[in-house]
């Protein structure tokens, strides 16, 4: 048969027509063209013939192919090998282990919740009870309790004034130097401690010491102490629990400084008391005083300080203290001295040592050759610098030595924050709670892993079973 070439523009369409892969519209077009074109019609017929030849050429030998049994027997042995111990037992093992893990984890969670749940409730109840008790105690703070505290304060005052040191001082001073008290925190009892010269008393009649936020007001006693005149017994204190006046302040009020500081116990974060302390600080600054904040890194306390620079009239201090009093929830106010004699003396010795060293260096440098003198000069300058630094420190110490502190503590009158997990875990059970948290995390992990893996593993397992059967 002569090779017939179809019309160039119709080649592809004709081929698609031949393959019956045309849209109805194109199909009609090609059919119409075929009616009028001999070559294309013959080319189409050739395509038919070629296709038959092509198919016959391959289909004829393939007709005798019978792969059914060989394929199936291969697959059967394949399935059997799939059931061979290694692979099958592995998935079996995974499937059963995940199931077991889920069950064990669920039991663990249940067990932990059943044992921990009530304990958490107990913690909650205990805290609520404590809160209620505290509220009940704080409620009549203008009644018996306040009177009781005042009595206590009076007793402390009497005690303080009854010491030899106190009697030895001028009328308007109370000195305190005596035995170390040690730190006592007996509830309802007077407790105090001494730093060797001054005594500090606290009246922890409400709650524990943890629960308050102490504010310290420091008033300078306004007398410069000559560096060499520092003597033991200069410290003094007074516990005050009532309106402040010039009469019952045991220090001259022509003071040069006034400070307020507070300490926060971070374990409980008594916010209301903290707020009061901040307000006390503002009162001082509102009266022309200064404020400053600093941090003790070591014990994580964050005292804030407020004070007056220079001499201030007694009335102003009175006004400040009266306003602090008005803030309410005042646990106690104390006035106490701060004695830094030891530091002062140490500083003096350092000054003397450095001065002598500087003098020696001066003498050497005046005698020595220039090269040596340079080195000596440098050393001498160092020594002079150290002397200056020590002198400055001495000035600071002298100023601080004249400070007298008045401490005010505010108690928390607002309801405490509701129990949170953080607070619940803050207690002695926190280890158990963290363990619970860890277990829950592990359980969630296992559950998720099981949920994700189970369908796949299950399907595979099921199919293996099916094939095996």
């Amino acid at each position: 048969m002569r090779n017939v070439t179809p019309c160039p523009n119709w080649r592809e369409l004709l081929s698609a027509y031949h393959d019956n892969n045309l849209s109805p519209k194109d199909r009609k077009r090609v059919a119409a063209h075929l009616q009028s074109c001999d070559d294309c019609r013959r080319a189409l017929a050739q395509m038919d013939g070629d296709r038959d030849r092509f198919i016959d050429a391959y289909m004829a030998p393939a007709a005798k192919a019978d792969l059914r049994e060989s394929v199936l027997s291969a697959l059967r042995s394949d399935t059997a090998s799939a059931e061979a111990p290694k692979k099958f037992i592995f998935w079996d093992w995974v499937f059963h282990n995940i199931s077991a893990a889920v069950i064990v984890t669920l039991i663990l969670i249940l067990a932990v919740f059943m044992s921990q749940g009530p304990q958490i409730d107990e913690t909650k109840k205990a805290l609520q009870a404590e809160q209620q008790t505290a509220t009940a105690e704080e409620a009549p703070d203008t009644g018996d309790r306040l009177a009781s505290e005042r009595n206590t304060a009076q007793r402390i005052l009497s005690y303080a004034q009854d010491t030899d040191e106190a009697r030895a001082l001028p009328d308007n001073w109370v000195a305190a130097q005596g035995n170390a008290f040690g730190r006592q925190q007996n509830k309802g009892l007077i407790s105090g401690y001494t730093d060797g010269h001054a005594k500090y008393f606290q009246v922890p009649t409400l709650g524990t010491e943890d629960a308050y936020d102490a504010t310290t007001v420091i008033i300078s006693k306004g007398q410069k102490i000559p560096p060499n005149a520092a003597t033991p017994g200069d410290g003094f204190y007074r516990v005050y629990n009532g309106p402040v006046s010039a009469n019952n302040l045991l220090v001259p009020l022509d003071a040069t400084g006034l400070q307020i500081a507070y300490d926060i116990d971070y374990r409980l974060q008594v916010k209301n008391a903290l707020q009061k302390s901040r307000q006390a600080q503002k009162i001082i600054s509102g009266l022309g005083g200064f404020t400053m904040n600093y941090q003790y890194v070591q014990d994580e306390h964050e005292p804030a300080v407020a004070g007056f620079n220079g001499k201030i009239p007694a009335e102003q201090v009175e006004a400040a203290l009266a306003q602090i009093e008005k803030l309410g929830n005042v646990r106690w106010l104390t006035i106490a001295g701060e004695d830094l004699t030891e530091q002062f003396q140490a500083n003096q010795q350092e000054i003397a040592r450095q001065s002598e060293h500087a003098k020696k260096l001066d003498a050497i440098s005046s005698r020595s050759a220039s090269k040596v003198a340079l080195g000596v000069e440098s050393q001498r300058n160092d020594a002079k610098g150290q002397v200056n630094a020590a002198k400055q420190a001495l000035t600071g110490l002298t100023t601080r030595h004249e400070l007298v502190t008045i401490s005010a503590a505010f108690y928390e009158s607002q309801p405490r924050e509701p129990l949170t997990l953080a607070r619940a875990t803050a207690g002695t059970r926190h280890v158990l709670n963290y363990a619970l948290l860890l277990l829950v995390t592990i359980a969630v992990f296992f559950l998720l892993a099981a949920l994700v893996a189970a369908p796949f593993v299950g399907l595979r397992y099921w199919r293996r079973r099916q094939m095996a059967s």
Binding site: D19, D56, Y58, M59, V71, L75
Partner: protein, 176 residues
């Protein structure tokens, strides 16, 4: 008679006999295609058997059960190309050698059409096997060849033309 989808469904449920039916249904077309692709009948049979076994193992990857034929052809084609690249062809498809094989005696008996058609370029044999032997539409051909339906149409058309030229030459030279 079960449709391809029904058979695949049964196989997926673990019915190995149903797979036997699928083998029955496609084995000849696949053997023919494989023969066309690799030019060796025995190898074609082996390749198809391997194809069926591989397909069974990966049946979960078959997305459209109605197109199981095209899917099988895809696996076969891949295997055939691997087979071809793994060993040099046993027959040469150079044009001049074609003449040696077709001694002008009794063409009906002597001319081995499969050897003659092996003279077609691989791409053309690929397209013709998919179109004629597997009876796939252009969409399926395109998928099997990894191209677009439009391109598949062009490739099939060209393959047909080259087939025509080859046959025309054979007709003239050996009196087919």
């Amino acid at each position: 008679m079960l449709t391809d989808e029904q058979i695949v469904c049964r196989v997926r449920r673990g019915d190995l006999d149903a797979y036997g039916e699928l083998v029955e249904r496609y084995q000849r077309r696949l053997v023919a295609s494989a023969h066309n692709l690799v030019g060796n009948e025995d190898a074609a049979r082996d390749l198809v058997q391997e194809t069926f076994i591989e397909a069974y193992r990966h049946l979960e990857q078959l997305r459209d059960a109605a197109k199981v034929g095209a899917w099988l052809y895809g696996i076969l084609r891949h295997r055939a190309h691997s087979w071809l690249s793994a060993r040099r062809p046993t027959v040469s498809w150079e044009d001049e050698s074609v003449e040696e094989w077709f001694v002008a005696a009794d063409p009906a008996e002597r001319v081995d059409m499969t050897v003659l058609l092996a003279g077609l370029p691989t791409a053309d044999r690929d397209a013709l096997a998919a179109r004629y032997l597997m009876d796939m539409d252009y969409d399926a051909v395109a998928k099997a060849l990894g191209t677009t339906p439009q391109n598949a149409r062009v490739r099939v058309c060209r393959a047909k033309e080259r087939l025509r030229n080859l046959l025309d030459r054979a007709e003239k030279e050996v009196g087919l």
